[in-house]
Amino acid sequence: MSRRTRRLAQRTLLYLVLTGCAVAYIYPFLLSVGTAFKTDPDATAHPLNPVPSHWVLTAFNELGQADFLRWLANSVVVAVLVTAGRLLFDSMAGYALARLRFRGRGAVFSTIIAVMAVPGVVLLIPKFLVLKQLGIYDSYPGLIAPLITDAAGVFIMRQFFMSVHPSIEEAAKIDGAGIFRTYWSVVLPIARPALMTLTILSFQGSWNDFSGILIAHQSPSLDTLTTGVGRLVSGQLGTGLQYPLQLAAAMAMTVPVAAVFFVFQKYIMRTGEGAVKE
C-alpha cells in the first residue's frame, strides 16, 4: 500500500469516526424534535423515525396551558442578572487578586480556592436555611443571589489577569488614571476573551440550574424552565409517560439557550485558536 493510499484510508476512517460520533450527538435531538410533533402511540411505535406519521400540535397546546411562558420569563430574568452580576464581581475580584497588593490578599485567595472545592449539592439544605434567614426565600433575589456567588469565576479571572502582561495598565497608571478608571477602561477591554468565557459559562449555568432553584422558592410563579419542566417528568401533573409532551417541553426550553449558543458560537469555539495566531 502506497503512502498516499494509506493516508487516504486514514483520513476516511477519521471522517467516518467523527461522523459516527456526530450522529450519536445530534440524532437524539432530531428524534426529540420530531417526536414532539407525534401522537403518543406513534412515539412508542416508531422511536427511530424522527418524522411523525402525522403531525400534531397536541403536545405544544398542552404546554401552552402549563405556564411555559412564565417559566421562560423567569429563566431569562435569572440568567441575565446572574450573568451580569458574575461578570462584574468576578472580574473585579479577579483583577484585585492578580494585580493589587493588599494585606489579606493571600488569605482571600486561599479562601476562594477552598470554597471552590465545596460541592454545591452538599449545600442545598443549608443554603435554603440562609435564604430564609435573610428573608429572601421565595423571591427573585433569593433565586439570583446564591447563583451570583461564584468562586470559580473569580479564579478564572485571576488566572487570566496573571497571564496578561501588566505593561498596558502600567502605562495607564503612569498617565495618572486611578485604579478603578484603569480597571474599567483599560483592563476590562483586554479581558474580553475571559469575559466571554465567563458570560457563556454563567448564562448556561444559571439557565440550566435545577437544584438551586428547587430549594429557593415555593410559589409556582417563580418556577423557571428547569423546575417547571422538571415537574412534567416527575409526573406531578399526572401525565404519566407522554413522550411527545415531555420532549416538546425539553426541546422548547433548549431553544433559547441554543440561540445564545449560536450567537456566541465563534467566541466559544475559537477558544485558544486565537492565542496561537497572535
Binding site: P41, T44, Q65, F128, L129, V130, K132, Q133, L134, Y137, L214, I215, Q218, S219, P220, D223, T227, G228, G230, R231, S234, G235, Q236, L237, G238, T239, G240, L241
Partner: protein
C-alpha cells in the same frame, strides 16, 4: 479613612453571615396537644398549599378558596406545590408553613410526632361523621388530629369490552377466579391484570390473606407466613405473564396501561377516573370490589390526605374556619364531582353513591379498608420496601419481607 470604611463593610458582611448562621428561635414552642378551637379568625390572609393531580383539581380548589373569601372576607393565597412534602417542610423550617395544606398519612406521622399540628379535628362540626378508617389514619397516640380531606380505595377496574370478548361472566370473587380471569383476558399485546409496582399497589394482597403490616401495638409484622404466601401468589401471577407491572408495558402507571388497553384489568383507585374520561374516553369499564383472599377475607388499601393546620398559624381561627368550609358535605361533593375523589364524610359518601352508582365499589370497600403504611420517620424504609417489591418477579418474597420487617421495626423502635 478609606481603610476603616472597608473594614466596616467587611465586618457587616461577616455579621450578615453570622446572623444567617445564628438565627434565633422563631416562635415554635414545645409540642403541646391542647386544642385551640377557641381561636378567633382575624383578617390575616391565609395560604393554602396543595399537590394537584391536574388542572381539574387546581381550579376546583381555587374556586373553593374564592368562595370562602367571599363568605368570610379572609383572603386565601392558593399555592399548587410542585413537590408538596418538600415545600411544606421548607415552610416549617423557615417558620412560615402554609396555614392549610394537604397532608398525606405518612408525613402526618412525622409532624404529629413533632407536635406542630393543631389538633383541631374533634372540634369540627359533626366530627364523628368521618369514616372510622380515616379517623384512625389521622390519629396520633389515640388523639384525632386533623380532618380527612377525602379518601380513595383500590378497586378492580375491568375493561368491559375485553371482558365480553373473553366470554366472562361475574367479576372474580376470590384469588383463584382472579387468576383464571386474568389468564383468559391475556392475549397477544394485552395483559390480563396490571398492578402498580409499589407497596401501595401490592400490600392489599397481604391483608386479603389474613396478614398485616403492623399489629395493634404498632409493631411491624411483615414477615408473617400469610404475607409470604400472599407475595408468592402475586409472584406466581407475574411468572405466568398474566400479570405485569406498568413499566413492562411501557406505561407510567397502571391507569395508563388500562387506558391504552394494554391491560384488561387493573387494581387502582378513583384518581384514575378523570384521566380515563378525558384521555381515554373510548375505554368502557366497570369498577368492582377487590376479590377476597383464599379464606374469604375482604380487604383493600385506603389512601387519604387531611387538611393540615400548623398550631402556630398567624390566623389559626381563620384557618380552622376555612377547613370547616372545605369539609362541609356540599363542598366535599363539589370536589368529588370535579376530580373524582370520595368524600371523607359518611353523609357525603351516601350522596356520592347515589350520584355515581358506577363507583359505589370504592365506598363499599371502606368498611374493610386498611390505611396504607404510615410510620413516623419511615419514608426511606417504606420506599426501600416499595422498590424491593417492584422487583418481586425476580426476587424471593420471604427475603423482601424479612428486610422490610427489620428496617421498619428499627424505625418503630427508635421512636419508642
Amino acid at each position: 479613612m478609606k481603610g476603616r470604611r472597608l473594614t466596616t463593610v467587611m465586618l457587616s458582611a461577616g455579621v450578615l453571615a453570622l446572623a444567617a448562621a445564628c438565627s434565633s428561635n422563631g416562635g415554635f414552642s414545645s409540642p403541646s396537644s391542647s386544642s385551640t378551637a377557641g381561636a378567633k379568625p382575624n383578617k390575616t390572609p391565609l395560604t393554602l398549599m396543595f399537590g394537584s393531580s391536574g388542572p381539574a383539581e387546581t381550579s376546583a380548589v381555587q374556586a373553593a378558596a374564592a368562595a370562602f373569601t367571599k363568605q368570610s372576607g379572609i383572603k386565601v393565597k392558593v399555592i399548587p406545590a410542585s413537590n408538596l412534602t418538600q415545600q411544606v417542610a421548607q415552610g416549617f423550617a423557615g417558620n412560615h408553613p402554609p396555614d392549610v395544606f394537604y397532608l398525606d398519612s405518612l408525613t402526618f406521622q412525622n409532624y404529629a410526632k413533632d407536635g406542630v399540628l393543631d389538633p383541631y379535628a374533634p372540634t369540627m362540626p359533626n366530627a364523628t361523621g368521618f369514616s372510622p378508617v380515616l379517623k384512625e389514619t389521622f390519629s396520633y397516640q389515640g388523639k384525632f388530629i386533623c380532618a380527612p380531606k377525602d379518601v380513595s380505595t383500590d378497586a378492580l377496574y375491568v375493561n368491559t369490552q375485553d371482558w365480553q370478548q373473553a366470554g366472562l361472566g361475574a367479576p372474580p370473587a376470590n384469588w383463584s377466579q382472579l387468576r383464571a380471569d386474568a389468564q383468559k383476558l391475556t392475549t397477544h399485546g394485552r395483559t390480563g391484570l396490571v398492578l402498580d409496582n409499589s407497596e401501595s399497589g401490592i400490600d392489599m394482597f397481604l391483608y386479603q390473606n389474613g396478614g398485616s403490616v403492623q399489629d395493634r401495638a404498632g409493631n411491624v409484622v411483615l414477615d408473617s407466613q400469610q404475607n409470604v404466601q400472599a407475595l408468592a401468589f402475586v409472584k406466581s401471577m407475574l411468572a405466568s405473564h398474566i400479570m405485569k407491572f406498568p413499566p413492562q408495558l411501557n406505561a407510567g402507571f397502571s391507569g395508563q396501561a388500562f387506558g391504552e388497553n394494554k391491560a384488561a384489568m387493573v387494581i387502582t383507585g378513583p384518581w384514575e377516573n378523570g384521566t380515563l374520561q378525558s384521555d381515554y374516553p373510548h375505554i368502557k369499564f366497570k369498577v368492582y370490589p377487590l376479590p377476597a383472599g383464599p379464606t374469604g377475607i375482604h380487604a383493600t388499601l385506603s389512601f387519604t390526605n387531611c387538611w393540615g393546620v400548623p398550631k402556630d398559624s398567624k390566623n389559626l381561627g381563620g384557618a380552622l374556619a376555612f377547613v370547616k368550609y372545605l369539609t362541609a358535605p356540599q363542598q366535599e361533593m363539589k370536589f368529588s364531582t370535579a376530580f373524582g375523589v370520595i368524600p371523607s364524610r359518611a353523609a357525603a359518601q351516601a350522596t356520592y353513591m347515589r350520584a355515581y352508582p358506577q363507583y359505589a365499589a370504592f365506598v363499599r370497600e371502606l368498611s374493610y379498608a386498611h390505611p396504607d403504611i404510615a410510620i413516623a420517620g419511615a419514608t426511606q424504609a417504606i420506599s426501600a420496601y416499595s422498590s424491593a417489591l417492584a422487583q418481586l418477579g425476580s426476587s424471593d418474597p420471604a427475603s423482601i419481607l424479612k428486610t422490610a420487617q427489620r428496617n421498619l421495626q428499627a424505625v418503630v423502635n427508635s421512636s419508642k
